[in-house]
Structures are given as C-alpha cells and as structure tokens.
C-alpha cells in the first residue's frame, strides 16, 4: 500500500511533454473544431480523457488566466478538473504551476484539494516552484476550518522535499495539539512522512514521546495512526514498545476502533506476552466479539492473536503449571474449534480474492489441528464459477479432510473433477485422491477402492495427463500398500503403450518391475522399450527401466537375461545422466561379483521400497509448518514458505515479544481485563441508559485500574523494559501519577491551598455522564479512598452531592497536592470536577498530564456509576 497514492501518476505512460509535435495540428495548435478559449468551459466536456487533447496545455493556460475573473463556481471547478485530467493522463502540465498556485487562495474546498493534488504531484520535479507555495500551505495549516488545516498539513508533508522539513516541523507540532481529531490524525501521519524524508531532523524533533502520549487520545483514529507510525519508526526493534499498561489500555478500547483501526491493535497482541495465564484468557474473551465482525482481516488477526496467547499460556512438558491446566495443543485445538464457523462463513461469502487467501489460512489451520474442519468438507467442493486457483486450493484441502465417514463422498467428488477441462485441476484431483489412500485416512476398503479408480484412469488414454498422473499415484501407492499389487498389475502392459508423459511412463515401468511376478507379458513389453532405448529422452524413464529390468531378472531369469545385458550395456554407455550411469555400473558389478545370486537377489528384491510410515520423507514438512505458524496471516502462509526464502535478509521484519519481564509474578492476582461490550459507546451517545442494556459491563468496569497497574500511567515498566533501542523508550513525560497513601492536611491548610491557586489555573471537567449515582456520600468517599484520594468535607443537597477531595503525589514524583471539588448532580446523574494543582511539577504539560490521569483515576474508582 505504500507510496500507493502519490505514485499513481508515475505509473502512467511516460510524460508526454507538450513541446513535442502534436498529431492533429501543427505546432500544438488545437485541432479544428475545438476553438481555443473558454468556449469549451461551459461544462460541455464529453469526457476528460479523449485522446485528441494531448497538446492543449497552452489552451489550458488561457483558461486558467480567465480563472480569476470567472464568477461561476462550477466553471472554475471545471477548469481545474481539466488540468487534473491532463495530469492523470500523464501529460506534463507542470508549466501551469504559476497559474495553478494563484488559484490556491480560494474558499472552495474542492478547488483547493485539486490544487494541492497538483502541487504534490509536481513538487518533486519542481522543488523551486513548490518552495514558493510553502507559505500558503503553512498559512492554511492555521485556517479556522479543521478540514482545510488537515488537508494543508497533509499536502505539506507529502511534498517529499527534504529541504522543506524546517517549514513542516512547526505546523506538525502544532497540529498534534489541535482541537480537532481530523487534524491530529493527519499530523501523526505527517510525522511518519517526515521520518522517511529525513531521519536526523526527525530524531532532533523527538516526536516519539509525543506519539506515546497520544496513544491516550480520545479519538480512536488518532490512536490507530499513532500505533502505525510508532510501529514503523521502531521497526528496527520489532515495532512499537509495548507494556502491560499500553496493551490493556488499547484492548479495553478496542470496540471504539474502526474496522481497520482494530487491525492495528490486533497486530500488537501476538507480540505481547500475557502477564499470567488468567490475563491471557481474559484477553481472549475480550477479543471474542471481533470474530463476529464482517471484516476478514480482523477475524484472521484475532485468530493469530488467539494462537499466540495459547502458545504463551498453555502447559508444556516440564512446565511448572497446574496439573489440570490445558496444554498448548489443547488450547490451540479449542481456538480452531471456536474460529471454524466464522472462517467458513467468510469463505463462503467473501469475494474471490478473500476466499483465495482464506483457503490458504484454513489449509494451515487444518495442518495445525487435523480433523476439526472434516465435517465442513462440503464447503470445499469446487463450484463452477470458482476461479482456477481457488479450485486448486480447495481440492488440495479436500484430501486433508478425509476421514472414514466422509471419504466415499470426497473420493466421488474428486472423481468428478478428474476429467475437468483444466488440466491442472485433473492432476490435482488425482493427487488428492492418492493422498487419501497414502495417508490411510479413508478407513476400511478406501485404499482398494481408490486404487481401482486409479487403475481405471490408466485407461483414459483420451486424457493423457490423467493416465500419467494415475500411474505416478499408483507407483507411490504400491510402495505404501503392497497388497494392491493384484489390483494394479493387469492393465500395466496396455498402459505402457499409450502413456506418453515421461513421469507416467517411468511409473508404469517401475510398477512392471514391482509386479513382474504376476504379469506374464511383463518381460516382453519391457523388451520393446529397451529396443527403443535410444529414442528415450528422459533420464527418469531410463532409470526406471534399468531398475525394473534388474528386478524382473530375479523373478524370471531365463526370459529377462538377454534384455538385462542389453539394458546394462546401453545404460553404462549412456553419458546423459550421471545417476543412471552409476546405477547401471553398480548393478553390473553387483551381479558380476556376487558369489551367490541369492545375495544379489536379496538386495535387489528386498522390500526396502515399501514404506512403513504414512509420509514420504520429503513430505515431512513439520518443521516448516511450525515455522509458518509464527508467521500466520502473512504472505508466508500464502506462499507456504519461510520469509527468508522470498524476502531479502535485511528486509525481514523482526518479531520481538514483549515485555521481557513482567511487573506481575505469575501467582499474583491478575487485574481483570474488562469487557466493556460494544454497547458502552452507544449508551454514552444515546445519553440514556437503555433499560435492557447489559449490566455486566457496568459492574466490571471498576477493576480496570487497580493498585498494581496504573493503566494510564504507562510509566512504571516502560523504563524497565529492555527493548534494544538506542533511543530511550520511556520518556520522562510518561511518569505515572502516584499518590501517597497517607496525607496530613487540615481544613485550614486546604482552604489556604485552594485559594492560593488562581481560578484560572483550575482544571474544570464538566458533567461526565453517569448511569447511576451514589445513595450517600460514602458511596463516593470509600472507593476514592482506596485510590488515595481523600475527603476533606462532603455533603448532600437536594439536587446534588458535593465533595472536597485531595491527594498528594509521592515525593519522588514532585510531592504536589491536588485539590478537587467534585459535584455529583442527581438528575440526571453526572459528575463535575474542579481540580487545582498545588506545588509539584511546574511544567504545564506534565501538570496537565497528571491531572488527566487523576481524572481517569477518579472515573475508574467510581466506575460502578459510569456506563
């Protein structure tokens, strides 16, 4: 997706400059019938993309000059659109730069956007001209309209001119404090653009700390962008620094995120090591609703998160976990069971592109937990309108789903596909069928019935690739199940005549050697092949021929003796294949030097070719599969190979699990991760708590913050984290708010302190909506006390409760006092706070931060009253 927007234009055919002679009119004159001037601006533009317009840049310039005097808004826009249309076609209209920039001073947002687009497109090639417009852009960044501010900022950051950085960093910094989320999120993305443009300047500006702070932004799209930007900036250390507080904060808010924003949070989860098992399970419960979204990306990201948590909290051998706690495999099994239904729904309803990718994922999950998808095998039946690559994936998966119950159905379905017009499809169907027999997953009698089907296919000489594929399958099958020789042997001599593909031919010859005892005419058909040895091009066929002849010799020496001599001679003289040559020599010396033919016989006809395991050695990809599970939901799954096999080493993304050490010991009681439910949002918005709104969300909220975890502090373990990064991850501004548990303050002091802070410095938090209210003052005082916020005085009036509260910071954090006047209004229930800081940090930003944290702390302490 990168550089996808801006580079669009560059992918069009090379720029055609208007200096070139233009077909259709000498010297670039407009073609007859299209009079120059504004006459065509009347909106009568059949299409902006007709070919005859190549050389009309001059005409456009004329039009643009009338722009300033033009009064009709629509015509103005049409002129602009024409310029942009030319640009889109790849015609170089950069000569209009000056005229275009004159148009930037407009109140019409659409025209402004088009000028910005023009500017960004040509800035790289015309840096001098672009620099002239910077002032306008910077000025627009201070526009009263948030939309203009945002757009101007985005364009300013997209100019891709390194020399512009000095102009951009100031508006950028300002935008991060903007009152409007649209500007803030644009600003956050602007930071990333700056980072890629000039890393040194970026480091000087130290935006990192601000970004970490902004993870607390009330607008979820700003938070999303912060995560994305931090991940990219910190890519060298594996992505954004993550600790328990940050993770839980984001997870608790996950329902506020947009459908793509959710993905940014979900992608963090696999990197996070849960503090202990309980927390892991709580995260899973919290994420469960995401499985109900219609976005396939979110569903699969959740699956990855689940699997990673299962890895972290499941019991392994030699683990000190409880006897009864589930093992990693149990947990993964449970996860796959849980996600089966949503995946199948997505598979059946999504677009073909999604289906293709999802099939690859399902394939991997089946490998992980065989058997779970078995009963859904019909979903993997090929549909007529499926695209070929989807059909192929489905048929491969079908083989893995076979069990004794469904195997007859699956094999019958595969049988239907064998004669498919798509050659590849037919081959895969045969291979899948054989694979069911190979892995013995079809139950009693399945092997033989599949073998019979394959034998029938040998005779499908109308479809040569199928008979060849069937022969290959049978050759493997005979090694796995020697008992089917009796089924296979009869049609072999016939098959040898018309199977033309080398792989199939080699397989038939191999089979003739294996079944030589029971086929009367075996030596004679082989002899014919030997006679035409010189016309065989494929080494595999020759090798098979050699092997089969030697084998047959021990079963029926008199008939084969001459043939053997011939083939050994040919093969030892054959220089086309080293392998063949050496084998022939080996057989020759074995036969000649063996004192007793029985020894040679026991070597050649031994059953070593028979397999005792279910898989061929080369089929065993358990190691690869394990590696791929770590890369689930990436291209690795789709390509079915490890990242290092298709990505340059220096580009491989580091995967760093964090945090290395947890603030919590495993036995410690875990702070519950609460499930706010989707509804909290809507309840907030509606202003009225719905009568039937679920109550559980209300009751669980208070525990969000507890003594051990300062959820919004972010600080305590950031500094302890040992993410290998040169830049300090835990900036000082992230200090958590920490209140003393014992504070001595009398009424007089309180009043003095209160009045010593001017009212202008007080922070007022108006009317936070509450769903219910306290019945007495104790209902507020007690919970606050648990969080070290104490009450000086309180009282109940007819319409409200009033509280005078205070708290003091730990000395290490500045020792400042916070004096709070809280009013709980009764109808409707809401909470207003007036907070005055006294002493402590003098830095206004830090102060503001601490007060924000204090508000959050009070809110969560009183969580039972909040929706």
């Amino acid at each position: 997706l990168h550089s996808y927007r801006r580079r669009t234009m560059a992918t069009f055919p090379p720029n055609r400059t208007s200096n070139m002679p233009v077909p259709g009119g000498p010297g670039g004159a407009p073609p007859p019938g299209a009079p120059p001037g504004a006459s065509s601006s009347a909106g009568r533009d059949e299409s902006y993309f007709t070919e005859s317009r190549k050389g009309e840049v001059n005409e456009l310039r004329m039009l643009l000059r009338t722009f300033a005097t033009e009064r009709d808004k629509q015509r103005k826009r049409d002129i602009m659109k024409k310029v942009i249309a030319y640009m889109t076609l790849g015609i170089d209209v950069s000569r209009l730069f000056t005229e275009m920039m004159l148009a930037i001073e407009t109140r019409d947002l659409v025209i402004k956007k088009m000028v910005y687009l023009f500017l960004c497109n040509y800035a790289e090639t015309h840096p001098d001209l672009a620099q002239m417009c910077t002032n306008t852009l910077v000025k627009d960044c201070g526009n009263e309209d948030p939309m203009v501010r945002g757009l101007a900022l985005r364009s300013l950051c997209s100019l891709r001119l390194p020399q512009m950085i000095e102009y951009t960093s100031e508006p950028l910094r300002r935008s991060l404090q903007d009152g409007h989320a649209y500007v803030r999120k644009t600003g956050v993305m602007g930071i990333l653009k700056m980072y890629h443009l000039n890393k040194e300047e970026f480091d000087k500006a130290s935006f990192n700390d601000i970004l970490y702070d902004m993870l607390r932004d009330p607008d979820s799209s700003v938070v999303t962008n912060c995560i994305l930007v931090l991940n990219e900036i910190m890519a060298d250390s594996g992505g954004m620094a993550l600790n328990r507080a940050v993770m839980l904060h984001l997870l608790n808010r996950i329902h506020e995120f947009s459908e793509f924003g959710i993905l940014s949070v979900l992608d963090l989860v696999p990197r996070y090591i849960p503090a202990n098992d309980d927390e892991g399970f709580q995260i899973m419960n919290l994420l469960d609703p995401v499985l109900r979204t219609a976005n396939a990306g979110a569903v699969v990201a959740t699956i990855r998160a689940f699997l990673s948590i299962a890895d972290a909290v499941g019991k392994r051998a030699g683990d000190d976990r409880d006897e009864d706690s589930p093992t990693v495999d149990d947990l993964k099994h449970q996860v796959v069971v849980r996600i089966k239904a949503p995946l199948v729904t997505l598979l059946a309803s999504g677009s073909s592109e999604l289906t293709y990718v999802l099939l690859k994922y399902v394939d991997q999950l089946i490998d992980l937990c065989p058997g779970i998808f078995d009963d859904e095998y019909r979903v993997f039946y090929v549909r007529y309108h499926d695209q070929s690559h989807i059909k192929h994936s489905k048929v491969r998966i079908l083989a893995k789903l076979a069990n004794p119950d469904n195997a007859p159905d699956i094999v019958a379905e595969l049988g239907e596909l064998v004669a498919n017009v798509d050659e590849m499809m037919g081959r895969i169907a045969v291979q899948s069928m054989a694979s069911i027999a190979m892995h013995d997953s079809g139950g009693q009698g399945a092997v033989e019935s599949i073998a019979r089907r394959l034998v029938e296919m040998l005779d499908l000489h109308g479809i040569p690739h199928i008979s060849s594929e069937a022969a290959t399958a049978l050759a493997s099958l005979v090694r796995r199940h020697p008992s089917i020789v009796s089924v296979v042997s009869a049609p072999l001599p016939r098959a040898l005549k018309y199977i033309s593909e080398p792989a199939g031919k080699a397989s038939v010859i191999f089979l003739l050697g294996e079944c030589g005892e029971s086929i009367v005419e075996a030596p004679y058909v082989l002899e014919k092949v030997i006679d035409s040895y010189d016309s065989i091009a494929d080494a595999a066929v020759k090798t098979a021929l050699l092997g089969a002849t030697v084998k047959l010799f021990f079963y029926r020496p008199p008939e084969v003796k001459n043939m053997l001599g011939k083939v050994l001679k040919k093969a030892t003289e054959d220089v086309s294949s080293q392998d063949l040559h050496d084998r022939a020599l080996f057989y020759y010396r074995l036969l000649r030097s063996s004192p007793d033919t029985n020894i040679a016989k026991s070597i050649v006809t031994s059953k070593s070719m028979t397999m005792s395991t279910k898989h061929f050695a080369e089929e065993d990809d358990s190691e690869l599969r394990a590696a791929l599970m770590h890369e689930f939901n990436t291209l690795c799954t789709i390509y079915r190979c490890k990242a290092e096999n298709f990505i340059d080493e220096e580009n491989i993304v580091k995967f760093v699990k964090v945090p290395k050490e947890h603030p919590l010991p495993r036995e410690a009681p875990v702070t519950p991760v609460t499930d706010p439910g989707v509804n909290t949002n809507t309840n907030h918005m509606g202003g009225v708590a719905m009568a039937d709104a679920p109550q559980q969300s209300v009751t669980t909220v208070p525990s969000t913050v507890s003594a051990e975890v300062d959820l919004l502090g972010f600080g305590d373990d950031l500094s302890a984290m040992s993410v290998p990064t040169p830049a300090p991850v835990g900036p000082a501004s992230l200090q958590s708010l920490s209140l003393k548990s014992e504070v001595i303050l009398n009424g007089e002091d309180y009043q003095n302190k209160w009045s010593s802070v001017p009212d202008a410095e007080a922070v007022i938090i108006p009317a936070l909506a509450m769903s219910t209210g306290p019945t007495s003052t104790d209902g507020v005082e007690e919970p606050l006390k648990a969080f070290n916020v104490f009450t000086m005085a309180s009282g109940e009036l007819s319409t409200e409760f009033k509280f005078f509260l205070y708290g003091q910071e730990e000395d290490a954090y500045g020792g400042g006092f916070f004096l709070i006047q809280a009013v709980v209004s009764k109808a409707p229930f809401n909470l207003s706070l007036t907070i005055k800081p006294n002493g402590g940090d003098t830095n206004p930003t830090k102060r503001k931060e601490k007060i924000d944290q204090l508000v959050e702390l009070i809110k969560s302490a009183l969580g039972e009253y909040f929706p």
Binding site: L1, S3, R292, A296, Y384, D648
Partner: protein
Amino acid sequence: STAIMGSNPFPLYDSINPIMELPDVNDHDGGGTNGRDPSSGGTIYLFSALRDGLSYLAACTSPIGNGLEIPPLLIIEFLHRIADTFVLYFGDPADESAVKDNFSTAYQLLEEMVDYGWPLTTEPNALTDLIRPPTVMAKIHQAMTGGSSGIVSEALPTGTVSNMPWRKAGVQHNHNEIYIDIVEEIDAIVSGDGSLLTSDVMGSIQAQSNLSGVPDLILTFNDASLIDDCSFHPCVRYSRFERDKVVSFVPPDGPFELMRYRVQMSGAGGSHLPIGNMPIQVIPRISYGRFGLDGDKVGSNSDIGGRISLTVTARSISSLIYSASRKGPLVIEDVAVVIPFPKFVKTANLNVTLGQVIYDEAGKIAKWVIGKLDEKQRPQLNGTMILEDGSEPGSSKGQS
C-alpha cells in the same frame, strides 16, 4: 489506482492470482543485482481485487509495508472497501466509465481513505461527512449540461467527533424510515443425477436507514437457532445477540449491511430446514454418438454429435414465504440458464419451448433466458451438437 483490464475480464482474470509479484524494478540499469539499492529495492507485490470489470491494484514494496508485515487480507479488504465506496458515490456499477466521469471525486475519496499507504477513513458515514456524494440535483445538472458530476455540496464537515465511528452526529430526516431487505443466495452443488450434494444459504440483511437522532433498534428472528453462523456490522451489540439472539443496534445513516448469516441445509450440522430440494430444478440429459444434424441416428460416416435436452421445473415456493400483502401465487422472476459447452463441441443447434436461447459460438456458452416461471410450466430445451473431428466425447462429462 485502477487499471483497466478489458471489457470482458473473466477469462483473463481467471488466470490471475490475487497476489502477484513484480521482479525487482531497480534492476533495469543493467547492473544486475550488485547495483541494487536495498532501501528501495526488492520485489513489488501487487494485490488485486476485481470489481465491475475494474481491477483495483495495490502495490506494496518489500518488505511489505516498510519494515512491517502487513496482513494480505488487510490490503484486499481495503481494496474492496474502495470499490464499495465508489459504488456508493458513483452508483452501481462503478465501472470504468463511472470512475472516469467522476475522477475528481475519486481523487478526493482516495485522499481521505488512504494516507501514506495506511487506511484512514473507511466508514461510509464518515466519508459522506467529508465529501458529499453527488446529489440528485448534481446528477440532473450533469444530465442537462453534459458535465461531470462530483459536485460537492457547500456544507463543510461538522467535525463532530462521534463516539460511534459508524454514525455521524446530528442526523436529521423529515421522514423517519428504515428499509430492510433480506437477500438470500442459495449456493448448491447438484450432481448429475439431480441429487443435492451440498447447499448453503448465505443471507445478508441490507438496510437503508433514514432515521433522525440516535435511533436504537431491535431486530428479532422467528427462529434464530436456524442460523449457523453470522457476522455483524460494528453497530450491532454483540453480547446482546449472544445472550438473547436479538440484533440490537444503532444504525449508521444511509445504506449498510446489518448482518450476514449462513444456514446449512445439509452436512454434519444436521439438516434442519424444511427445504429438501432447490426451488428450481434443471434436469439435463446429454448423450453423444453419431447423429445427423436433424437428430436422427444415421450411418457411421456422418459427423460425431450429441444430443442435449434440459427440463426446468419450479417448486411451489408459496408455502415458504409468508407475506400478508401478497396476492396470487408466487412467481419466480428472471430465470436464466447458462450452459457452458465443452471445447470439443463445434456448434450447437438449440430449440426451446419457452423464452429465448442464444448460443455464443466463440465462448461456447448458451444462455437461455426463460423469464418468469411458475410451478405449472415445464420449459424445455432440446438440441443437437456437432463435435470437433477426432474428439472423444466418451470421457468427458457435461457440466450443468
């Protein structure tokens, strides 16, 4: 972002994988791999999504997403979201000409939907807040003057930060109404002998909400247990559904898909729907042999041919759908049968008792448009085929 791949994309597209690789684009200076710049080099991955004849392409550098691994599904989902948005703005289908006619709006949309390669605003409600869709007036204006649409209303975005990303604040409508459409697709595989191998019903509840303020709505099912699996628009309260099987939600403004669900008719889940067969059945009879063009079996020196006959029957579906407002029996509308012929068929001569049949010689596809169908009619198609010389029809099976 959009490339045009020809007017009839299906055969071409069939061979295109949704994820493609472009080899190292920086190698063209002839320096081979030595002169490569690792910071910008590497493979380009192209993700494609096909909609309405347009291929939406996203190019990703390697490492995908600049040091980050971006899930492929994110990109594909996002491409589809762009296509959805184009449909919302330009009407259905948002094809080549629609995008060309509205290119400036398309630019604006992309500007808001993606910033520096990352999805930005994708919720239709938020987007229409930022960029007004072409209005009816604008469309009339366009029709009269021939100008392009994309006229954006003067109103600037309200700028309200909504706690519900999907719903804009302060919606006002003169007529408060919500329309709900239930669209169900039966996805079935029928074997050659007419028996049902597999069938799923994919349902989608489409809504168009024109309600003021913050409406809180509830949708209940007669029998929610029939639903095997479902997924919801973000506005639906998930926990409420888990508990009561009631869909409770605050809708976005405008058109949206409330939920999708799947009902399995057969398989291990146990068949629990009273639908044994498809509403429409097609019974094919295909045979190959030596036939004359008139269909009579003649001597062995004539062309190798085949016979095809199809009978279409409709089941009474009146009993399945209850509607108080309906009068008379239910008629199935817009019935059409598409018959793809195998490659070895040279030509076919088809006759039908009802409707019209067109045989496309080049594509070897016959399309039989029946139109309305009720249970009393049994339209039939009969015809003969002439096969390519030397072909062996015995091994191939007709597809229906």
